[in-house]
């Protein structure tokens, strides 16, 4: 009672308008507004949690889509273009550009252990420069872990042990080379997407363990063999084209697997094989070579440059041609990773134009394909956008629930307070003044509910992974199964602009919900309200 008295005295001293006084009194003396506020808290929290997790999920998806492709790609598919080292040098001299690297993109057939054959996307790259542009090293799967995988509580992850081995695998994977004992040389190697072979088993804790195949033995029995892809060899079939795009022949080569990578995007991890650039260039006849000019005629006075000594001499015999090494793609990474990739693409086009002016036999600047990571992920991004739209659509329904809850609760409160409305009108309150009581009441509940809801959502999203783990342990509930969702951890970031939007939405919903009861109160006939029993 004492506390109430203090509140009574202070409120009359600090509130200029009777609506606020009444709002405060109704708030502190009734259970109904508490229910309304709780409804707003829950709705706000629910919407914000869903949006944050969903948004984080979609962001991760786009981020994964960005790995392996850099910011801008300069592409002349299949045939490729020469003098790319010069282009890369020109690109890297530009202040907007952080790094650039060569790549050959092609399709091939990969023959895997256990007689599996898969159609794969081949990316021929030079490991270190590819890493500088795309952060490729991050995606290498077999590497020593500094800390155990967050969900791997029982430390079942192979990568927690034998660090020396993983260190070696990591280096091999990054360099795309492996030591070959037969020839005592480093040979070009491949790195497979973690899902390409199908032999890796995705565990509940989010990582992979090499799987087992049943191998029939000659004596009729079978044996279980664990397939360690990173120790295997694959056979790659590629279709070689010559400089003018004509099919030359099919090349087959055995290539050791140095490591596997996980980009975070299933399609990429399922279909992509990264191969040492030298190997791919060699297989596709895109390396530098002296070849017979198919269009040339025998010309006894032709000047021939010896590729080894650089000396010029008068040649005879068939017309020869130095075919410089080619790649299909140059990937570019901008200095500002958050910047607009279209500006960077523009820049690349200008640089390419200069490059094309310098070299006679490269594709003309008007024809070269220059695309941003956004262009390349268009389907993914549009899917993401569609999904965001769907989520927002669902949210509007959730918000509608909040509006209706507030409306219902306020409606019954107006009924309960009909007599007060009559009394206030009898002492001179206007219709709009009476309506304002309910609107400011709705505003107060909206503000309180939204702030608390925002705080609740923030606390939950921040700790969503521990909470989820606890639910898994205590209740046996696993909603976010890493085997299904591909991201090991639930996104746990609340963006402040989303929080502001959702909280404003909560306030607005409450005010809108209060509006109709407020109008009803305003329309009450004061006489009827006074006679109301």
């Amino acid at each position: 009672m004492l506390g109430q008295d203090l509140v009574g005295v202070s409120s009359i001293h600090s509130t200029p308008v009777y609506q606020i006084l009444l709002t405060r009194k109704y708030l502190t003396s009734k259970i109904m507004p508490l229910l309304a506020a709780i409804a707003v808290v829950l709705c706000t929290a629910m919407v914000l949690i869903t949006w944050s997790v969903m948004g984080g999920f979609l962001k991760n998806l786009v981020k994964s889509g960005r790995t392996m492709i850099g910011d801008v790609a300069i592409v002349w598919p299949n045939v490729g273009f020469a003098h790319y080292e010069d282009l890369i040098e020109m690109l890297e001299a530009d202040p907007m550009i952080e790094a650039a690297c060569p790549m050959i993109e092609s399709y091939g057939l990969a023959h895997l252990p256990g007689d599996r054959t898969e159609l794969v996307v081949i990316k021929g790259v030079d490991g270190p420069s590819f890493d500088r542009v795309t952060g490729y090293a991050e995606t290498l799967y077999w590497k020593p872990l500094t800390a155990p995988h967050p969900k791997d509580k029982q430390q079942r992850d192979w990568r927690n042990r034998s660090h020396g081995l993983w260190e070696q695998k990591y280096r091999d994977g990054l360099g795309l080379k492996e030591y070959d004992a037969n020839t005592d040389r480093q040979v070009g190697a491949a790195v497979l997407g973690i899902e390409v072979s199908g032999y890796n088993i995705r565990e509940l804790w989010g990582g992979y363990t090499p799987g087992v195949v049943v191998v029939p033995q000659t004596d009729g029995t079978t044996r279980d063999v664990q397939v360690l892809m990173f120790d295997e060899t694959i056979t790659l079939n590629l279709l070689a084209l010559d400089g003018s795009g004509r099919t030359v022949d099919t090349k087959t080569r055995k290539i050791p697997v140095a490591n596997e990578f996980q980009s975070g995007l299933y399609d990429i991890d399922k279909q992509t094989v990264i191969v040492n650039l030298d190997v791919v260039q060699d297989m596709l006849n895109m390396d530098q070579a002296e070849r017979i000019d198919p269009d040339g005629v025998d010309d006894p006075f032709r000047v021939v440059i010896d590729p080894l000594t650089g000396l010029e001499s008068l040649g005879a015999g068939p017309a020869m041609l130095i075919d410089p090494a080619r790649v299909t793609t140059v990937l570019v990474r901008g200095v500002d990773s958050e910047g607009d990739p279209r500006l960077l693409a523009e820049r690349c086009r200008e640089i390419y134009a200069k490059f094309a002016a310098k070299h006679a036999r490269v594709p003309p600047a008007e024809n070269i394909r220059i695309s941003t990571w956004e262009d390349q992920n268009r389907t993914l991004i549009s899917a993401v956008k569609k999904e965001t739209g769907l989520v927002l659509f669902i949210f509007s329904f959730i918000s509608l629930t909040a509006v209706i809850l507030v409306l219902a609760i306020f409606w019954s409160m107006v009924s309960e307070k009909t007599k007060d409305v009559g009394v206030l009108r009898s002492i001179g309150a206007s219709r709009s003044g009476v309506a304002m009581i309910w609107i400011s009441y709705g505003l107060a509940i909206g503000l309180m509910g939204s702030l608390l809801g925002g705080a609740l959502a923030y606390a939950i999203v921040l700790n969503i992974n521990p909470i989820h783990d606890w639910m898994g342990e205590a209740l046996g509930l696993t909603i976010w199964d890493p085997r299904v969702y591909y991201f090991v951890e639930i996104p746990n970031e609340v963006e402040s602009d989303k929080a502001v939007i959702v909280m404003l939405g909560g306030v607005l919903s409450s005010v809108v919900g209060a509006m109709i009861p407020a109008i009803r109160a305003a329309c009450l006939s004061p006489v009827r309200a006074l006679r109301f029993e």
């Binding site: 009444l22 009898s426 002492i427 003044g433």
Partner: protein
């Protein structure tokens, strides 16, 4: 010119297809400083009359006239009527009609808060002093922080009167102010009203079904069949 002039007041309630004519041309004139009692049976339309005079309800027809200081109150805009209720009249009801969430002091001060709106904060101190003074005059000085639910009927009615007087109305309208009280408590309320009359020559219109209560007024009129039928005056006290 009389302070209040009521002419040919008509009011019919409609319940579905049935019309209930309550006032059928009531006329009444009240001078400044007068204490008029309207005596009528229950259901004769006393409350209806008072609500119309106080600007809470509207009469049926254009012929019905209520003039306050010569100005027709139903010619006023909605805002004008709100101001009329806030400044010019003060209502006292049979069932007190206090706001249950507010304490006694707040119940009185709210009349001033409604009247002044945002300008209230500047007047807070003065308003508070006036409200406290009124409540003390009604013997409620020690009950300022109490909720209406903690008061007796007589105490509640005194709070209601203090609220009605808060904005110094020209016209006090009392609707059976003792109707819900026992004789002794009712008499105390009437004594209080009488004191106010004596101190400030407050104009009062009180409706009641109780001739004993009506006898406290300077003048008693009767409401019968929707008309003010008989008047008899006695000299001012």
């Amino acid at each position: 010119m009389p302070l209040l002039e009521v002419q040919n007041l008509q009011k019919t309630y409609r319940l579905g297809r049935v019309s209930v004519p309550v006032l059928r041309g009531a006329s009444l004139s009240v001078e400044e400083g007068e204490f008029v009692a309207v005596l009528g049976a229950s259901g004769s339309g006393k409350s209806t009359l008072l609500h119309l005079i106080g600007g809470l309800d509207r009469p049926d027809r254009a012929e019905s006239v209520i003039r306050f200081q010569g100005e027709s109150i139903y010619g006023m805009s909605a805002g004008g009527l709100d101001r009329y209720r806030a400044r010019t009249v003060g209502f006292v009801f049979q069932f007190y009609h206090l706001l249950p969430e507010l304490n006694v002091l707040q119940n009185v001060m709210i009349a001033s808060m409604v009247r002044h709106g945002f300008a209230f904060s500047a007047r807070r101190t003065g308003v508070r002093a006036r409200a406290t003074g009124l409540l003390e005059a009604f013997g409620l000085g020690s009950r300022l922080r109490h909720r209406p639910a903690e008061l007796s009927g007589g105490e509640r009615q005194r709070v209601a009167i203090a609220r009605a007087l808060m904005n110094e109305p020209r016209l006090l309208l009392a609707d059976e102010p003792t109707g819900n009280l026992d004789r002794k408590t009712g008499d105390a309320i009437l004594d209080a009203l009488g004191r106010i009359r004596a101190e400030s020559r407050q104009t009062v219109i009180m409706v009641t079904h109780d001739a004993h209560v009506a006898a406290r007024a300077d003048r008693v009129v009767k409401l019968e069949d929707g008309c003010v039928v008989a008047e008899h005056s006695r000299p001012l006290v």
